[in-house]
Point group: C2
Chain length 344, copies 2
Amino acid sequence: MATIKNVARRAGVSVGTVSNVINGTVAVKGPLRERVEEAIRDLVFHPNHAARSLKSRRSHTLGMVIADITNPFFPLMVRGAEDAALKLGYLLNIFNTDDHVERERTVFGMLRARCVDGVLIAAAPSSDPPTHLRDMMATGVPLVCLDRIPADLPVDSVLVDNVMGAAMCVRHLIAMGHRTIGVISGSPRLQTAQDRVAGYRVALSEVGIPFNPALVREGDFRAESGYLLTKDLCLSSTFPTALFLANGMMGMGALKAIQELGLRCPQDIAIAVFDDVPGADIFRPHLTVVSQPAYQMGYQGTELLIQHIAGKIESKEPVRIVLQPELKIRESTNGARPRTTTGG
Amino acid sequence: MATIKNVARRAGVSVGTVSNVINGTVAVKGPLRERVEEAIRDLVFHPNHAARSLKSRRSHTLGMVIADITNPFFPLMVRGAEDAALKLGYLLNIFNTDDHVERERTVFGMLRARCVDGVLIAAAPSSDPPTHLRDMMATGVPLVCLDRIPADLPVDSVLVDNVMGAAMCVRHLIAMGHRTIGVISGSPRLQTAQDRVAGYRVALSEVGIPFNPALVREGDFRAESGYLLTKDLCLSSTFPTALFLANGMMGMGALKAIQELGLRCPQDIAIAVFDDVPGADIFRPHLTVVSQPAYQMGYQGTELLIQHIAGKIESKEPVRIVLQPELKIRESTNGARPRTTTGG
DNA sequence: TGCCAAATATGAACCGATCCATAATGTCAT
DNA sequence: ATGACATTATGGATCGGTTCATATTTGGCA
């Protein structure tokens, strides 16, 4: 591997000059510059990253901490973050924690040893105070939280407006004439799940429909629970004409349940889902969803983080970027009025 | 951040001794060792990674080059690689190239600058000779190819036995009594696609069924082509009783086509698919598949790479690990004999 | 033409580890 | 007690960049 000294010798200049050409710290002009650039090309010189970050104390590397890349929500987010990072000259180190706080702590130790310039994290839900996040920030390493914010931590974040997304879904169902709308939520320990139920209630109250606890089921964001609870709800006495599922996997489960119950969708029961699902465009009926801008979340989170690193943000207040989900109306809510209104 | 000098001063020893304690290069004994360890703990000392790799010329970092993390095949592979890397004290840098050879070249430049100790790559298909791979190897950076091997390159690799997997699928269909078996393949430019058709032919020839070109359709590994070609094949004069789809996305498309044609699966037509698909366990009929050990591929590829880095492999011959796919018999081929045999 | 300030190039110190030649210490036989 | 040898600790050179104080060149003006 060619070093900066080789380049300097070949170009007949000092190492300092080569460094200046590379970094543009000081303008190097005319023939000198050309000779240096030629030498760099001839020797296929790549500045040694270790040497560079040793002296400059910046690694041009970001840490990204997520639960699990095999969870279909994360690849898009990671891709967005990576595209932004690469565009701005940074590189991403990805770590899976499976939502274990202990793994998070371990990972943070590594990030520190590697001198990452900043950290993106979709933090694990935890009742403990997030001391490792706080410590990292105290060390002066900028942090951006994606999707979830730990309680009581003044930190930059990029979020989806879960309340709004859920409300968009339910408003749409209401606009289609539904009045008896069931909801299958996630664990109330997750802020995300709480917000989506809140959005459901907002939409109902806007048009004066009273909240009916008998129409609510608490799931766990997995297909199986969507399947079981949809059956449960459809076989109960308060039979809904429409269903709002708080996440995509449960939406798939609901679809399966409805098929097995011999119900037609949307004629017998309409379905709207929070979160798009791979394969949703293959099976009938195509699901009406609000889709989360996961790619955007990764991309904008990374931009924000790098702005902080570059010191381009002076505000002492934590920055919060709230992204709007997008309602995609498809077959599962469309083309039929509810039974109770028109007889479907 | 504490440095090794701080630790040395605090423990009242030389920096060399601290280094020896950390790396175990030379055994440091008794009270000295204890004092050093205590100082390390007190100062929460993490050796600076940049300094370390500058001097030692090893970064304990691997590059991983894939097409696109949002393609559902890759997350499992990445997760496998990451788990193996972390276990062995390495860290993974992931790069998406979208299968563009030019991006691959750019990425290889970065990998070089970062002094990665080795590279895992699921190489983009290309007609050009893979000079960047060759150059990287010539520089002494070990390389392991995953899933696909560039032609004419003697390189370590971990592969799935595509011929065998396809043959397993088709043998199973034959065992269920089918004789007229259609195949929807991928682009013949992909070795993978070629191999899967080869496996199809192997299974047929084993039992003396002649190969019938009229039963073959060339798809492109996307759901849409599976959908269109399944309709095409089912409406053609050589109506198959069973179908082998060369990848998962096309399998989803086939399922949709069959539903729309009003055919029952497996009674009217059986389906077997290469490659598992997310959501395959939700929709009926559940698809019979051979699933690729993507996690294993990442994990074992990384182990192999690190063995090479550690110089534990002396053989000059490239190592090739061939993983066997697993046949998962589910509803789409089960529980019914083909029409032509039993009248279904 | 000569002088001074501004602009530009130089090279040595430095970042924080590793590693090796050398020094110091310890062990044992004589 | 002493020399010979093995064992262990030391400290300085080194990796390849960046950076800044200093040296050199350039250009404008009297």
